[in-house]
Assembly symmetry: C2
Homo-oligomer: 651 residues x 2
């Protein structure tokens, strides 16, 4: 822990020591002037046996190695290797953005080294780095698609070419690997490409540049944070400036679909391609963290509210429409037709992460939680080998949603990098003290911003059981604040410090416990995990008259596996029936299931007319068993649905 | 009426007299062995002052002339003219299927000549015929797109080229003009193209053929009926056979999207492009009318039930998805996102028309009525100059749905040909007597299939008032049946003949009154126009917990014009409040409006969270005024919706 001590004295300035990389947070906001709080490094926050550790373990043990095999099988690595060969063999394979899939896998693997050092994996990353950089041209240009006969097309297809998108992921991989190992080789390769851009691209008379798929913006902000070189942030500002509309002949629909190419502060809503829009918003929030720009700040706030108030699923998913993978209109949130790409849920989550660190407001963590425990968690199977691209809120068994491979492999490594770095999403620091955003068994070994070493040990049954104990162990007794997020769903939370109760614990806020903390202090919280019916705003046309079930952060679904005698699409909740819990057995062991009495229709609805002068009313009592949404189709394809008609629910 | 007498004696055989054209029905099913009933000629059924006459008048007086002007302005006629010129000027304009738009306009104009003879219009049609046929090649080939430098592409792009689609509309225009005037020139031009096909195309070793956009199938069936030449029906059979999948290298998704290219009896559901699927189904039903083929019959029945039980809007619209203009899954019927193209509503209506004439079952007429009075009627504005391509069931004012012109001009002339020929949809004959399908002021001058002349005179307030009198005037006293459709919405219908009541009048069936009819007989019916709440099958996710209002055949909507103080998207129906009628004034004068008390939410819903543990409940009483759906945006764009949450409706 020498570095911690060494750098701590420099905090507030640049920690430029030999081991600076060790100190950098998941996002390195330590010097960001507008950050309300600062993420911890991945290595500082270790998940311990529990809900998320299991997911992280399977990611490291199964998902990372099997996906690399698949990337190899599909030629994604060979796409680099061939460029170092005179005969250019084998031919390039896959869509034009496959480079980014490998980079994202490398970022995920890089973060995993902080969680679980692995010399073999590190050697593999070094090998891949060499393979990749061997394909880099002396100019710094690096892309396996726009080479040879396609080289003349470079920068000619910026709306679709994904050149800058790939570079963004290269930088993120390089930064992650640097923060995990101190090795700069991959990062320097990325920087060489950026320097090439800075030389030749920018406002006239230089060549125009556009992120046809936003992503580079956030990578550049992080590169600025890790390097201190302001030119990288300025390049992001240029990409946000929208000054190249004419030179690039962008059509109005490009500006909408790409969420790029017009001045960012002119944005008023999330529209177009969901991942593009949310990556751009994330990068813009990064820009605010560094500059405080008031117009950008107003815009990201407006866009986030557009997401949270009008365009996010109860699972944290986003992007309603399959056609173009786009956002729908306000409140357009179809369930079975939901696209809700895993990448979009992740993008919404990291957008919220930036907003949380900008403002300190719990509502941003609330949305991160909604996504993490539901629409992101669903994206990878418990086996670590099947992935969702789409995450609908209802589907028939015939809809094959979980698959081992997609030619567009954006989601699998995006899920991996989220899960390998996950512990670092749980904690942040600020001048006042330490923040706890989510609850799972975890151990934080870090320090206060005063420099005092700090250990937190969280023991909890979350997300299944509410009893939670946090051991606060500062290196020396010191007055600071422990900010504990009280989730909005925990309507009556009990909290005490060393056995002494705390009053006025409000759901949906951070509980700030300021005192002189000393080693041995214990916070005990009991979250309220009462199962509840959730209702959507009546403007959400498809959810009107319906309810979903939620317990703690977990949204549930009704799946045919557990209800073999029920047509899950033809049954209603009974608003008067109690919601009961039951420990799962079998494949879902460890989870808590929900049980209730439902109401089924007499006879199949398919036999009834489409329109009648009397509504069909369900009256036959049937027992229903609900499982966590994230587990849909995890035991094999089966009909499932999140939202059910709710009879007697007060509509 | 000499011809009537002349041909009547030949009925059951081919009416081959000089004036045979006069005798041919809207569909000429007189010799179709599997037809349960036979449509009357357009000229036999005159609409008289009332609901539909107003629409027909505006079609003839405003819509036809203004659309021809627009077709001229956009080069659609010049696309033919230029081919007769050595310099090929002006250059061709518009998408590759513009020929069909002119043909469809000509079909509409041709039918109108039976309704209202017009020498000037007839001269214009003759002139257009000459212009079109001057572009026909000696081989018979005729298409303004695949000429000159594009000639080598002929038949190379059958999935997208629309060559056969255009031919289908040419034939339909030629048949309509022949039936209206006896002039064969246009029809013979179409036949020359068909003969060209018969020469060179068909099963190997001939060249393969595919209707990439089905339509030719029904035109060929009608050509067979009008000519008696079986080869034309056989060509339709070949197009339905799906034997060319390999030779044309059709992908699975082509077979789905195009609804073409695989054996028709293998179809199990409506899918892919809605108009394609419904035109193909219509043509297949035509094939059954001629052949009785059992497999085709099973298939069209199954497809029609898929439409009526799972895929049709309460307005008779079809085709849920804008992306690809396709059918959605079963019960996927979003309201604001509805595509519901005017052409698809028409296609569903003519599919039902064939099924009605195949079976004599009232349910087919019921669906025709639903479409005609709602989702088709909405397609043309009351001014006759604005058209809908989409017919959503809810839209904000910002959505400009009614437009004077579309580059793809399929819908406007499709609406025109429906409205000019409309009277002939109202009546059919069979060996037993005469069938009345719909009720409006109308006069039928035709004959029984025994040959006895028959006049029917319908005087009614429909669709606004239920009192209806039908004067039955046979040329001589004779025993036959008058089949009167009792609509499904008329739950308690009073009917009497010459003042004598008829018992057992059942909604949703044809009331068959068999007696010896003589001149002076009067049937009096009072339809039950009680306004009612309509409820969708609970499987229609977006309509659950909601109701629409319907009175007679008319579906209503809530539009901002009439409810300036209400947000129509944030108000509910009160299941306990009476539904009252009121005569409309102003632009909608003549129509009956519906009034009721609704329930509004406190404060705008936009301020509420997206998800809550208690449902939002509307409690503030507000008066609501509903207008017929077909009039949405007719008085200018305004928020409107068909389905509203229904509190206290028994859900």
């Amino acid at each position: 822990m020498r570095c911690v001590v060494l750098c701590a004295v420099l905090l507030g300035g640049v920690c430029a020591g030999q081991d600076a990389w060790r100190e950098q947070g998941l996002l390195h906001l330590a010097q960001s002037p507008h950050a309300r709080m600062h993420p911890v490094p991945v290595r500082a926050a270790r998940l311990e046996a529990g809900f998320w550790k299991a997911r992280q373990d399977v990611t490291i043990e199964r998902s990372l190695p099997t996906l690399l095999e698949l990337l190899e099988q599909h030629g994604v690595v060979d796409n680099f290797r061939r460029l170092a060969r005179a005969d250019r063999q084998p031919p390039r394979r896959g869509p034009l953005y496959t480079d980014s899939d490998l980079y994202k896998w490398m970022e995920a693997a890089a973060w995993s080294l902080q969680v679980r050092p692995d010399a073999k994996l590190e050697a593999k990353l070094d090998e891949l780095t060499d393979i990749i950089l061997a394909a880099q041209e002396p100019s710094g240009y690096l892309n396996t698609w726009f080479v040879d006969e396609r080289a003349p097309l470079r920068w000619q297809q910026q709306t679709s070419g994904h050149e800058l998108y790939c570079l963004g992921h290269l930088l993120q991989a390089g930064i992650a690997y640097y923060r995990s190992t101190g090795k700069r080789k991959l990062l320097d390769g990325g920087i060489r490409f950026v320097e090439y851009l800075l030389r030749d691209f920018g406002p006239a008379p230089k060549q125009p540049l556009l992120t046809g798929h936003p992503e580079l913006e956030l990578a550049l902000a992080e590169l600025y944070r890790t390097s201190g070189d302001r030119r990288y942030l300025d390049l992001a500002a240029y990409l946000f400036s929208g000054v190249e509309r004419e030179r690039l002949k962008l059509r109005e629909r490009d500006l909408v679909y790409l969420f790029s190419g017009k001045p960012f502060p002119e944005r008023t809503q999330l529209e177009g391609h969901a991942v593009r829009a949310l990556y751009a918003s994330t990068g813009a929030a990064d820009y605010v963290l560094e500059t405080g720009d008031a117009a950008f700040r107003r815009t990201v706030l407006r866009l986030w509210e557009d997401l949270a108030f009008r365009k996010v699923y109860v699972t944290g998913g986003a992007g309603a429409r399959a056609a173009g993978e786009t956002f729908g209109d306000a409140y357009e949130l179809p369930n079975q037709q939901a696209y809700s790409e895993s990448c979009a849920a992740i993008a919404g989550m990291i957008f919220s992460q930036r907003m949380l660190h900008l403002t300190g407001e719990a509502r941003y963590a609330e949305l991160m939680e909604r996504a993490l425990y539901n629409g992101i968690c669903s994206g990878m199977s418990s086996s670590g080998t099947l992935y969702c691209y789409r995450n609908p809120l209802a589907a028939p068994a015939s809809d094959r949603i979980r698959n081992p491979w997609y030619d567009t492999t954006c989601c699998p490594p995006n899920l991996q990098r989220t899960f390998t770095a996950l512990g670092a999403y749980f904690f942040s620091t600020s001048r006042e003290g330490i923040w706890v955003h989510f609850y799972d068994n975890a151990a934080l070994e870090w320090k206060l911003e005063s420099g005092t070493p700090l250990r937190l040990k969280v023991k909890t049954g979350m997300p299944w059981h509410g009893e939670t104990e946090i051991a606060v162990e500062p290196g020396k007794a010191e007055e600071f604040t422990v900010f504990l997020r009280i989730p909005g769903w925990s309507l009556s939370t009990k909290a005490e410090v060393n056995g002494e109760g705390i009053s006025n614990v409000k759901p949906g806020e951070y509980l700030a416990i300021r005192r002189r903390w000393r080693a041995g202090d214990r916070v005990r919280i009991v979250f309220d995990l009462t199962p509840r019916r959730v209702f959507a705003n009546p403007r959400v046309s498809e959810d009107y008259g319906k309810a979903a079930l939620q317990r703690g952060p977990i949204v549930y679904c009704l799946e045919k596996h557990d209800n073999p005698d029920v047509d899950v699409f033809e049954v209603a909740l009974d608003g008067g029936a109690p919601l009961e819990t039951e420990a799962a057995t079998g494949a879902l062991a460890g989870a808590v299931l929900l049980k209730t009495q439902g109401l089924a229709y007499e006879g199949p609805l398919g036999r009834r007319p489409l329109y009648e002068f009397q509504p069909a009313v369900p009256a036959r009592r049937v027992p229903l068993v609900f499982v966590p949404y994230f587990a849909f189709h995890d035991r094999g394809p089966a009909d499932f649905t999140v939202w059910l008609p709710c009879r007697g629910c007060g509509f």
